[in-house]
Symmetry: C2
Subunit: 204 residues, 2 copies
DNA sequence: AAATAATTTAATCAATTGATTAAATTATTT
DNA sequence: AAATAATTTAATCAATTGATTAAATTATTT
């Protein structure tokens, strides 16, 4: 058995492929990605991809699980924290999301596109379902506004935070903004969105 | 020249193909769509697709232009109307959008996905840029809140309205809602979003 | 050092896929 | 009705693409 050095090489080559797969899949989506694109990006022979991962599908599966976690997993601990007020949670979620999305702008459109292909397959995987339904956040929301479905607030919060990244090319076009200025708007939204959501909470 | 009957048959077969292309492209995206899928959906021979339209790309181009118009063109006349208040415009845009999206739920995710593939190519086509910058809506917005970039409000309005359709599978999963109940929420939002956006306009 | 195991490569497959061609059919014009 | 033009089909191509195979190379163990 080749062990020590083997595992190192393993991790290295395997990780190179995974990293390339993350990049190419996220950029072009599953269908438009050719395994040759990934191999080239990773700087390896095409056959190696099938040696380490069984198939394109297999590699995609691994990347997708990671990306789902990245997009949905991060906010769960924030929403579940029993030591923070509703207001604080809103601030933290917005801050955390905008920072993450600034670093990975095409994460949400990638995940949403792939979910569309097979909603059943991926929707279950988002344990955010269970986690959100049991979240302390939900209790706080219901106390504040028992008259409205909590999902309305989640839609507003996520819509205002995430959508500017999903629709970035469009908003940039209609606003005629260079990338730099767009980034400034995103920064501004870190402080603005929590205020807006709180204004929504106080409506009639 | 075969004219009368020719044109009728032309429109009929051609339109069958276009209709099939609209459906399949919108559902699966460009890359995942095979011309054979479209031919089958249209109930015609594959060669006919290339007889009427020069290529997959050509057919897609036609569909995409339609869809861009459908998604962005509809709101322009509403926003440009000099005879309505800002409040009325908000109401009308939300109403119009939610009705349209209820009828064509996968329109926005389709358009956004394809724009991602080649942002330059499609972003220019959205004359909404020029139209929004010159819109009466913008003037009204600037009067009301000169301190904030108008794009913030557009992002909030569109985010709250459109995003629940883009993220439908996810919101349904985390809310554990059947399709029927989800539709009810969308109906509720017709009246709620304008109020919320107005609350945002009044902040601080 | 020899044997063994793991990794990498070049070559090749078979299936898929967008597109074309030539012939057949149908409609229109003269 | 004959000639012509438009439409449709079956068959076929060539390129692409995910995957495999057998051989070569490199690392590890005995």
């Amino acid at each position: 058995m080749a062990k020590k050095k083997t595992i190192e090489a393993d991790l290295s080559t395997q990780e190179k492929i995974k990293e390339a797969a993350r990049k190419v899949f996220t950029q072009k989506g599953y269908a438009a990605t050719r395994t040759r694109d990934i191999a080239e990006e990773a700087g390896i022979n095409l056959a190696l991809l099938n040696y380490y991962f069984r198939s394109k599908e297999g590699l995609f599966e691994i990347v997708m699980v990671e990306k789902l976690q990245q997009l949905f997993g991060t906010i769960v601990p924030i929403l579940n924290d029993e030591g923070t007020t509703l207001e604080k949670k809103l601030e933290l979620v917005v801050l955390c999301y905008i920072d993450m999305l600034t670093a990975h702008p095409d994460l949400p459109i990638f995940v949403l596109s792939e979910i569309r292909v097979d909603p059943e397959r991926f929707s279950q995987r988002i344990q955010a379902g269970k986690l959100l339904r049991e979240a302390y956040f939900l209790k706080q929301l219901k106390e504040r506004r028992p008259d409205l479905h909590p999902l309305h607030f989640v839609m507003n919060l996520v819509g205002m935070t995430l959508f500017p990244f999903v629709g970035k090319p469009i908003f940039q076009a209609i606003g005629n903004l260079p990338a730099k200025d767009y980034a400034v708007l995103m920064e501004e939204r870190k402080a603005l969105i929590p205020k807006w959501v709180q204004a929504i909470l106080k409506t009639k």
